[in-house]
């Protein structure tokens, strides 16, 4: 009985699809193939081979035109540090003319992002914190979700990272590591005097940590434990938040701030910018390292 019903149903479906009629059956795939591709403007006008050739030439010409336009635009940019550079509007004018006097950093960009628009940058730091937290929630491995496959994978990783397999890397990292970390600290501490600042310095520090972890896995994991990671991250964010509250409170109410601007150009100047840069840098370095650690091992 069931077989009969199935058979009938199949017949019915075939009839609906046009079986036994004079017009040939066309499946959707065939229909799609018969229709010209929406991006093939020249369909049917040239032979297949010539058509492809036209498209190749067209794509190359388009790439060249775009590249040329971008390069031409670069030619028309104002020169770096030129005296007659356009000050876009009064906000920019204020930043450029009063920035050093009001905030005290010779790097105008850090004046803008850390004091005039400090709240915005605080949001960015919170985004980093949230991103690291989400990665931790999604990728963390502990005893409850570690499978035998994960353990085997980890053993293979340990084999790849073993001492005899990383001799070259270890000797080079031993040589380069101080330079990279010193450069990161330099960029962090000079954020208010020269190009750089919290985000770039933190990125350099984080990249250095990742490189170090690749060469001497155990040593880094020993001091960068989960405890230390949480402490640095939360402390940096709290410090940034409270400093920002203080700056806004005194700035908005015209109160006297005990953190002066100092002499522009000195390392201890520009008030809160340098400590904030250090906090942001630690935050960024921790986030980068945590991303790497969670994606590669699932734990710090």
């Amino acid at each position: 009985m069931t077989k009969n019903i199935k058979e009938r149903w199949r017949q019915f479906a075939a009839w609906v699809n046009g079986a036994d009629s004079d017009t040939p059956v066309v499946t959707p795939e065939e229909k799609r193939a018969a229709r010209p591709h929406p991006l093939r403007f020249l369909h049917g006008m040239l032979s297949e081979k010539n058509e492809m050739r036209v498209y190749h030439i067209f794509s190359v010409v388009m790439c060249l035109v775009f590249t040329g336009t971008l390069l031409l635009t670069v030619l028309y940019l104002p020169t770096f540090g030129g005296a007659g550079n356009p000050t876009e509007n009064e906000v920019m004018e204020r930043y450029v003319e009063k920035g050093i006097e009001e905030v005290g950093a010779t790097n105008l960009i850090s004046n803008i992002i850390l004091v005039y628009r400090g709240f915005d940058t605080f949001g960015e730091s919170c985004v980093l914190f949230l991103a690291a937290t989400c990665v931790m929630i999604l990728l963390r491995k502990d005893e409850k979700n570690t499978t035998a496959y994960d353990l085997a994978e980890r053993a293979e990783d340990a084999e790849i990272e073993s001492e005899e397999n990383t001799t070259v890397l270890r000797s080079v990292v031993r040589m380069l590591m101080p330079v990279i970390l010193l450069f990161g600290v330099y960029v962090l501490l000079n954020g208010h005097l020269s190009p750089g600042g919290g985000f770039s310095g933190g990125a350099i520090l984080g990249a250095g940590l990742i490189l170090f972890e690749n060469a001497f896995g155990e040593k880094v994991r020993r001091f960068m434990s989960e405890h230390v990671y949480h402490f640095i991250k939360v402390a940096a964010l709290y410090f940034y938040g409270f400093t920002m509250i203080y700056v806004f409170f005194t700035g908005a109410n015209g109160l006297h701030s005990i953190i002066g601007t100092g002499i522009p150009g000195m390392i201890f100047s520009a008030g809160v910018i340098m400590p904030i840069n250090v906090a942001v840098g630690l935050e960024v370095a921790c986030t980068m390292y945590a991303f790497y650690a969670f994606f590669s091992k699932g734990e710090l």
Binding site: I160, V168, V172, L176
Partner: protein, 104 residues
């Protein structure tokens, strides 16, 4: 003098770009990872050397040359190590590496 320097510098930079292009073609042309690594390592050393030399001649200043030398030293130290490490991991993890080429 100015003109000769500009010409020599530009020619060196262009030569460096040619080396980069050759290694790029190699990366796509070769079939197997180790061959590709070999092709890509070419631009790390010779290509960056030619470009840096051309830039040093174009700028013709002691401090710029020193900075470029530092960058080149960094690239020459790190590039081959990165290539070595990637290749090493490939050799260690690929079970069929012996079918493609002889590895110690």
């Amino acid at each position: 003098m100015m003109l000769a320097r500009a010409i020599v510098g530009s020619v060196l930079v262009c030569l460096g770009l040619v080396v980069f292009c050759i290694s790029l073609i190699g990366v796509y042309r070769f079939r197997y990872v180790l061959n590709r690594m070999h092709a890509s390592a070419l631009c790390d050393t010779l290509g960056s050397f030619l470009v840096m030399l051309g830039l040093a001649i174009l700028f013709w200043s002691v401090w710029v040359t020193l900075k470029l030398a530092c960058i080149l030293a960094f690239l020459w130290i790190t590039g081959p190590v990165a290539t070595h490490r990637t290749t090493k991991v490939e050799v260690l993890t690929d079970e069929y590496v012996m079918e493609e080429c002889e590895v110690e």
